[in-house]
Symmetry: C2
Subunit: 271 residues, 2 copies
């Protein structure tokens, strides 16, 4: 489906209030939502390799991802022994099932299964812990991050359309320009600066903290988008999926958050 303002509108209208509601509610509801997003992204990531005949173990990959989401639900006091036992048994099981199945390309099947869990669940799962970091500030920080990612994307698009000429990394994203990238960084800084100034982020950040957050969302977030584009280009696909109408796949929408969530989580953990 061609991506236009109109095809994108329904998801935007549903998406923004839905995510705000889920973030305010928090708890199992939000964790369940993140887990669902992780499942969908993982499924799409596996799809990249399935196109060329690789057969990852989707069920084991999802169960491993579920364990990681559980780890982040229980964080900072997870039942470590249960976690290690669960994940370890799943790893061993994946290897044994692969061996008994007699499928071809076991190395590819196994490396894809395990790496998908690390790339998607290992990084995106941290959003659950970020939301739970602190009963009030956690939700606000997560919301500020998600809003800023949106603002960053929009500014990058706008700056690129208006003034973009020189490409940033043409072999990966032939449309993205240096000016667009700068626009994203400017948008991110403005977003964090204003949200901090008007008390949306109640924590009261100093300028260095705002600059760190700008770096995480504005720079790393946009690079996360490039990383996903690199994978898609390698797999020879344009969109990771088509679940979200004109928005492409779920992974296309969450590629920046895969990078920003863990980094913002680390940042707030050391505040």
């Amino acid at each position: 489906m061609k991506s236009t303002f109109w095809t994108r509108l329904p998801i935007t209208i549903i998406g923004i209030p839905l995510i705000t509601y889920l973030l305010i509610t928090g708890g199992v509801i939000f964790a369940g939502f993140v887990s669902l997003v992780v499942f969908l992204c993982l499924y799409e990531f596996y799809g990249f390799k399935q196109k060329i005949g690789v057969r990852p173990n989707i069920i084991i990959g999802m169960l491993m991802s579920l364990m990681i989401c559980f780890f982040y639900i229980e964080f900072p006091f997870p039942h470590l022994t249960n976690m290690i036992a669960g994940i370890t048994i799943l790893i061993v099981l994946a290897l044994l099932l692969e061996m008994f199945s007699g499928k071809s390309h076991p190395l590819d099947n196994i490396t894809t299964t395990f790496a998908g869990v690390i790339y998607v669940a290992g990084l995106l799962g941290t959003m659950i812990a970020l939301r739970n970091w602190d009963s009030l500030n956690g939700a606000r920080f997560t919301m500020a991050m998600i809003f800023t990612v949106w603002i960053c994307d929009s500014c990058a698009y706008l700056f690129g359309i208006l003034w973009g000429k020189k490409k940033l990394i043409e072999r990966i994203s032939p449309k993205k320009t240096i000016i667009g990238f700068v626009g994203g960084v400017v948008g991110s800084f403005t977003s964090f600066y204003l949200m901090n100034l008007y008390g949306f982020i109640q924590y009261e950040l100093d300028l260095p903290s705002i600059l760190i957050l700008t770096f995480i969302v504005g720079v790393c977030g946009q690079l996360g988008d490039f990383v996903e584009s690199m994978f898609k280009r390698d797999a020879g696909v344009k969109d990771s999926g088509k679940l979200l109408l004109g928005h492409g796949g779920v992974l296309d929408r969450f590629d920046s958050l895969i990078f920003t969530s863990p980094l913002v989580f680390i940042f707030v953990s050391y505040l």
Copy 2:
């Protein structure tokens, strides 16, 4: 090099007392030894894919493995936030370096990098926590496990030579027979039974516990060997390396322990 009794002898003569000494010493010395083994096994695992042009990020893979070994050194009280921060930043770094490097086959490079860490460090690293489980019993259990793996291998070899006919999983290991496998299980049971009877394992295990340990070493350990053989066969290599003279590579020697260490660790954690 052709594997004969004489080519294998030097490593055996050095290996058995060395590992016993390291196990008794414990602490940083044993953890350092396990980390070294993890590095060597990971290097050999990456070699399987490098043969066909895949270029995993060996340094990032080793640093991630080091973090996992550290996690198991600190277990059961790891500095979780530091661990998550360290591993997460390495994951993000691996993805960014891959993207900027412009190497071909980024999906293969990344999946190999991450999956090697899970297969080797994620499983074998548990040996550090097993050793530290309890100041006395930890060392004894680990020693009992390693000795039993050796006895299992020897019995499997002996039974196979003497009475082996029907192959077990011919497409993976054309030499291994059903009788050999049974011999390994019998040897494992006898080993654990006698070590328990004569007080080497001071914990005093009941029969169900001995049967569980027999299953872990006798059955799962031998299957771990098959899993590694499956990877070698897929990669088209005979030995994972040649560091250990007639014993082949390091991964060839530790393929059973990659499966038994985490499972024995889980078993003792719930004792």
